[in-house]
């Protein structure tokens, strides 16, 4: 895993905790991130969509098939899922709550990256997902939630070993 020292731009990230006034311990950030990840997993399970046991083609834009090895990859993955979930026909309250939790999780990851002096993640380039999701909403929802579930497990696992960007 690539672990740069302390990039210059990372110094800027150091300012992020300062914005929040009181210093936040990295352990608390990690613990909160893990708890929030577990909460997200629990929420996905509450949606009671059946697990996907088949390989579904045509949904390659959905991440989650590769292990997440960096904070940047985590953030990018969550960002994609945020957009995907926004386009899925989920119930209003669980869908919005999922989106909020993912937003919080991304903030935590950014704060963690700031602690570690990581460069701010770049926004992934995504085309118009609306049409893609509208073609087969159930497939998109099932596969998206399934992959998000796996990604969250990967994030939980990676957070335990996180030492650098």
């Amino acid at each position: 895993m690539r672990c740069p020292g302390l990039p210059l731009c990372g110094l800027l990230w150091l300012g992020l905790p300062l914005l929040y006034g009181r210093p936040v311990k990295i352990d608390k950030v990690k613990a909160d991130a893990k708890n929030l990840t577990r909460t997200l997993i629990a929420r996905i399970q509450e949606l009671q969509l059946l697990p996907v046991n088949l390989k579904v083609s045509g949904l390659d834009f959905l991440p989650g098939e590769r292990p997440l090895e960096s904070l940047e990859a985590m953030d990018a993955t969550l960002q994609v899922f945020q957009r995907v979930l926004a386009g899925l026909p989920l119930d209003a309250v669980p869908g919005a709550q999922l989106a909020n939790d993912m937003e919080n999780l991304r903030s935590l990851l950014r704060l963690l990256g700031a602690h570690l002096g990581c460069a701010p993640p770049a926004a992934p380039a995504l085309g118009n997902l609306t049409d893609l999701l509208a073609e087969a909403p159930y497939s998109a929802a099932a596969v998206a939630l399934d992959r998000l579930h796996k990604s969250l497990h990967g994030i939980t696992k990676h957070l335990d070993q996180l030492r650098c960007c």
């Binding site: 914005l19 929040y20 006034g21 009181r22 936040v24 909160d32 708890n35 929030l36 577990r38 909460t39 629990a42 929420r43 509450e46 309250v93 669980p94 919005a96 709550q97 989106a99 909020n100 939790d101 937003e103 919080n104 903030s107 935590l108 704060l111």
Partner: protein
């Protein structure tokens, strides 16, 4: 009629459509204009000018609008529309084609000479709130009589007019009815205005069957806005300590305003002068204007674009206030600092600021250190760290006064409202982690009426920010009133780890306040769901309370748990147990009682204590079941019975059921193990009951009873050896039973020198008087005393037996059947020991008192020696050498053997008792009295002696009955009368009861303190002669003659002598009694004699002279006695009452003798 037909034709031809289709639409200007409406029948005569001319404006005044009737000419194919006002005229000619021609004013003026139907002076504007467009139509000239119906038709279009296919307006317009405000004035409204859109509108006027049509008008409402005039003109202080006049406007923030301010020196002359046009809502004025007679008015207008000026505001006088406060009212929060400024104008002269002092609520002078002299005439005061205003009645503010240093204040004051805005906001996130509910209470805020409260918040992306300042992007959260001034707001969905900074905004007309902001992270205020699937059981063999549960959903954080458990019964006492080890889903708890039902509940909270405890889970209950094998077998004993027929001994075993703490938790059956001396063993089972009988055939037989439950048999068991041989061994020497009380008996015993090893003892006891069963108990071998707790009836007989149990068998018992009561007797003697000294001490004291009184009596006796000449019993007695008291009395043969002496003759009050002796001793005394009395009559013994005897007898009676009253403590001079008694009377003492009916009525004075303890009925059968002799002394008419209370036991003297007579020994102050004989009871409390055996030798005149006094002074006497006393004949007998030891008695006696 002709034109009406034409009109009908027009209508049929859809004139409207044609007109709209052919008319150029005119823009409505932001000023008044004249609008023509034409009649169709005149259009044909109007020549249509040729050529197209650009529109030109008229000169001011060149185009009269009010007095010039514009002409509109139309033909069937062409249409002329004009719109003119005081600035220009705009007319256009239309043909059926879309060609349009405009006319210059000169052409119009030519046309103007032509006749037309109607013209309307029109003014349209948009209201300041941009909600409504108003058009006022004023008929400038009318050729149409009758009522007009005016409608304003309008359509919305945001396209350029030229692009409008006018035909499209057909059917797409709306109609507003114009209300007639005055005779020729109509007001039309277009509601729900869209200010930036373009409206096409026209008028339709109907006069009967005639319909007139105005040209089309085009308007964009935002361009003809007429704001409301400014309000609330007031003086304020600038930052540079200048006075400015401020105002407010009721306009939306969608457009800016400009203001025009004008002043007038004297309102009566209406000489207004516009001073300045300003863009702000204030204008600084010169201080010199303050207190002047200037009036100020302000109006406003849209700053950009066209529009109307508003009306002028209400004039504001600069000299209305003698004291000006800046600001006049302040609303602030607790703990803040505020400043007020003041300009004090006294008699048109500004008071110097250094002469101004400040007072609070007219009661408290504000220290000078808080003053600031802004300039010569502006004083400033600052109040620090304010406390909340305490409402005083209906006043919710502090009144701040700016006064002259001479303590003269103007009645105007500034108002200071201090509100406690410390509102606590508490939030709670639900177990699903999707909803956060925040609650807050606003009790303190409600004190300030008119306040509106709302919760505002902003969210940080993650955690809480330390920025206390309100960011620009705060939002209002809708909250619902829950009652009792508490509000509840719900955030859903939530950002679990975002910081929600919240505060309460309090809006009031006086200003806006904010409570201190609080930041809440939803994840920190989670109230999780309670654990589910809670199970509780007592573990087998281990005997611990095992509680298990399932963690709640969404419990993604580590939790700690609290278990509360209690024995299930009516009054539950909870025990708690906390588990903080994570992850935990079960716990083992040591409990004291394993054989009861436990009720168990579990709750949880975040392991770090952040958040709230969940609710308690549903209750789980343990089931009572066997936990272990019984800890021990039952204690048992035996009864040996002999069957004489079979000649065998039967042994009946009986045992006490095992308590649950030993059985753990039940006993299914008992096993009796037999072992004989020949080592034969066998077992038998008892499923129910606690007795077992078997024949005893062996010399030695050992019995063991085991308790068995579902887990196993008891391991520790009692056994009882039975041996024929050992049953004769006697090792108990003595046995004694001491009752302590009805519930406890102490048994003690002594043993003979140890020959056998004693395994244990068994005590039996039973009540021999009742057929209740024998009771028993096992005792250890090493004791010689025990307490037996039972219900003992100590007056009944009990038998106690002590059996020594040897390893070889049961020995011979020692039996006792009586209690030893030494202990209790000793206890009783304790009381005796205490009482005896007291009795002895009392006796000694009594003896001492008797001796002292004896000496005293002896002394008195010798000091007050009776006159031997007048006292028969004293004759022959040598008073110079008395021997004893007895000697004195024995000397006189007629004297009564019993006769205690009076202590002092002056003070003795005595009831003379004539008693029927019920006892022999009394009879003797009484007979003695009678004999003496007889002698009194016969031999004219001095009354002193006889009364003395009677007194003695009376005292004797007193000693029996205790009802004689003696006034021995009084120093009054009271003499005693004699009582003449019938010597043969056998009924003097008939009755001693009914003491309540006594002689109260006999006493003349209402204030008499003498009570009436004696029964009148005791006189019923008595033929006693009783005379009360009044004092014969003529100088004492006012002395009270009291009828002594007469009873079977004697007189009782009036006790109010102190009031009647002065103290002293003067014989003139003596009180005498009259005795009335033959007293009968007439249902009253007075008795009079009828059959007196002794006639008094008294001057009845003198007697009744005094009796007359008696009558006067006793108005409350019984009428019966009054009658008897009133008439001379009613009194038959008087017995002289002779004083003893007094010279008065001698005189009285002598006087009586002389008269007889």
């Amino acid at each position: 009629m002709y034109w009406q037909k034409v009109l009908t034709v027009f209508l049929h031809l859809d004139f409207l459509q044609m007109a709209v289709a052919h008319c150029l639409v005119h823009h409505i200007p932001p000023w008044s204009f004249t609008l023509p409406c034409m009649s169709p029948n005149e259009t044909s005569i109007i020549p249509v000018p040729s050529g197209v001319v650009e529109t030109s404006s008229c000169l001011n005044g060149g185009c009269g609008m009010a007095d010039t009737n514009p002409m509109v000419g139309v033909t069937n194919q062409s249409f002329l529309c004009c719109l003119w006002n005081d600035i220009n005229i705009n007319c256009s000619l239309y043909k059926s084609s879309t060609e349009t021609k405009s006319f210059i004013s000169t052409e119009i003026s030519v046309l103007a000479s032509l006749h037309t139907d109607l013209s309307w002076n029109t003014e349209c504007w948009t209201k300041g709130d941009l909600e409504q467009l108003v058009c006022i139509l004023k008929l400038s000239k009318s050729h149409v009589n009758g009522d007009l119906k005016v409608h304003l038709l309008y359509a919305l279009s945001d396209l350029l007019l030229e692009d409008i296919p006018t035909s499209s307006l057909k059917g797409n317009y709306m109609v507003s009815h114009c209300a007639c405000k005055e005779h020729d004035k109509y007001e039309c409204h277009i509601p729900s205005l869209k200010p930036s859109y373009t409206y096409i509108l026209w008028l339709k006027i109907t006069n009967g069957a005639t319909t007139l049509q105005s040209p089309l008008l085009l308007v964009t409402p935002i361009n003809i806005v007429k704001p409301e005039p400014p309000l609330n003109l007031q003086l304020e202080m600038t930052d540079k300590w200048q006075v400015k006049i401020c105002w407010s406007s009721l306009v939306l923030a969608s457009y800016a305003l400009q203001y025009e301010v004008k002043f007038s020196v004297n309102s009566t002359q209406n000489t207004w002068q516009v001073v300045k046009t300003v863009l702000e809502n204030s204008l600084t004025i010169d201080d010199t204007l303050l207190g002047s007679s200037y009036l100020v008015q302000v109006r406003c207008k849209r700053l950009h674009g066209l529009g109307f000026w508003s009306e002028w505001s209400t004039p504001y006088s600069l000299n209305t206030e003698e004291v000006m406060y800046f600001p006049r009212k302040i609303l602030t929060s607790v703990g803040s600092n505020v400043s007020f400024h003041c300009i004090y104008i006294n008699k048109n002269q500004i008071v110097l600021s250094k002469k101004i002092v400040w007072w609070l609520n007219l009661a408290e002078e504000i220290p000078e250190s808080q003053y600031t002299l802004v300039n010569d005439h502006i004083s400033k005061v600052t109040l620090f760290n304010l406390n909340a205003t305490k409402p005083r009645g209906t006043f919710f503010y502090n009144a701040l006064y700016c006064c002259h240093q001479s303590r003269e204040c103007h009645h105007r004051y500034a108002e200071l409202y201090v509100v406690d805005v410390n509102i606590n906001i508490t939030c709670e996130t639900d177990g699903y982690l999707t909803k956060m509910t925040c609650r807050w209470s606003a009790n303190t805020i409600m004190l300030l009426m008119g306040s509106s409260l709302q919760l505002r918040y902003y969210r940080s992306s993650i955690y809480c920010s330390d920025f206390q300042s309100e960011p620009l992007k705060s939002e209002v959260k809708e909250c619902h009133l829950q009652g009792n001034h508490s509000y509840e707001c719900t955030f859903q969905p939530i950002f679990l780890l975002s910081g929600y900074t919240m505060w309460i905004e309090i809006k009031h007309l006086l200003g806006t306040l904010q409570s201190p902001p609080t930041c809440v992270i939803p994840a920190d205020v989670v109230k999780p769901f309670p654990p589910s699937s809670v199970k509780a059981e007592i573990t087998k063999n281990v005997g611990l309370l095992n509680v298990s549960w399932t963690n709640p959903a969404f419990a993604t954080i580590e939790l700690k748990f609290q278990i509360q458990y209690a024995v299930k019964r009516k009054e539950i006492t909870w025990e708690t147990y906390e588990v903080s080890k994570a992850p935990t889903k079960s716990v083992l708890i040591k409990v004291p009682d394993l054989c009861v039902v436990y009720i168990v509940q579990v709750r949880c909270i975040g392991v770090d204590g952040v958040g709230y405890w969940s609710d308690w889970s549903k209750s789980a209950f343990t089931v009572v079941k066997d936990v272990k094998a019984p800890l021990k077998g039952p204690e048992f004993w035996r009864i040996i019975t002999e069957d004489p027929i079979k000649k065998q001994k039967n042994i009946t075993l009986f045992w006490k059921p095992l308590i649950k703490n030993y059985s753990l938790c039940s006993v299914s059956r008992y096993m009796i193990e037999h072992r004989t001396s020949e080592n034969m063993t066998w077992s038998e089972y008892v499923d129910s009951g606690t007795t077992y009988t078997f024949p005893w055939t062996e010399q030695a037989h050992t019995i063991t009873i085991l308790a068995i439950n579902s887990v196993g048999a008891s391991l520790v068991n009692f056994y009882l050896p039975l041996s024929q041989q050992m049953s004769t061994v006697n090792t108990v020497q003595s046995l004694a039973a001491y009752p302590v009380n009805s519930s406890c008996v102490i048994l003690t015993w002594t043993l003979s020198p140890p020959t056998y090893v004693i395994k244990s003892f068994v005590i039996e006891w039973k009540n021999l008087n009742e057929e209740e069963g024998m009771k028993w108990m096992h005792l250890p071998p090493n004791i010689s005393k025990c307490y037996i707790y039972d219900h003992f009836i100590l007056i009944q007989k009990y038998q106690f037996s002590l059996y020594p149990i040897f390893p070889e068998g049961v020995g011979k018992p020692k039996t006792t059947d009586q209690f030893i009561k030494d202990e209790s007797e000793k206890q009783n003697n304790v009381g005796l020991y205490m009482i005896l000294p007291i009795v002895i001490l009392s006796s000694v004291l009594l003896l001492g008192m008797l001796l002292i009184s004896h000496q005293r009596m002896k002394k008195l006796f010798w000091e007050d020696v009776p006159n031997p000449k007048n006292c028969s019993w004293a004759q022959g007695v040598n008073f110079q050498k008395p021997e004893t008291f007895e000697h004195l009395f024995i000397k006189h043969p007629g004297a009564v053997s019993f006769g205690p002496l009076l202590l002092e003759p002056e003070i003795v009050l005595e009831d003379i008792s004539v008693a029927k002796a019920l006892k022999n001793e009394d009879k003797q005394d009484f007979f003695a009295v009678n004999s003496v009395f007889t002698k009194i009559q016969d031999s004219e013994h001095d009354s002193a002696c006889s009364s003395s005897h009677f007194n003695s007898n009376s005292l004797s009676g007193e000693s029996h009955d205790g009802q004689v009253k003696e006034g021995d403590t009084r120093q009054s001079n009271i003499k005693y009368a004699t009582i003449i008694s019938n010597s043969k009377s056998n009924g003097l003492y008939e009755q001693q009861n009914n003491l309540s009916s006594s002689f109260v009525g006999c006493f003349p004075g209402e204030d008499s303190l003498v009570t009436a303890p004696f029964s009148s009925s005791s006189w019923e059968v008595g033929n006693d002669a009783l005379l009360v002799l009044p004092d014969q002394h003529p100088c004492q008419p006012s002395k009270t003659l009291s009828l002594s209370r007469v009873s079977s036991e004697g007189f009782s003297e009036p006790s109010n002598q102190d009031d009647t007579f002065p103290d002293g020994d003067s014989p003139e102050q003596s009180l005498y009694y009259l005795g009335l004989t033959s007293i009968k009871k007439k249902g009253n409390d007075i008795f009079l004699t009828e059959n007196s055996r002794v006639m008094p030798k008294l001057d009845t005149h003198d007697v009744f002279k005094d009796l007359g006094f008696f009558q006067d002074s006793s108005s409350n006497l019984n009428p019966f006695i009054k009658n008897n006393l009133k008439y001379e004949t009613s009194v038959k007998t008087f017995i002289p009452y002779m004083p003893q030891f007094q010279s008065t008695s001698v005189k009285l006696q002598e006087m009586t003798e002389n008269k007889t």
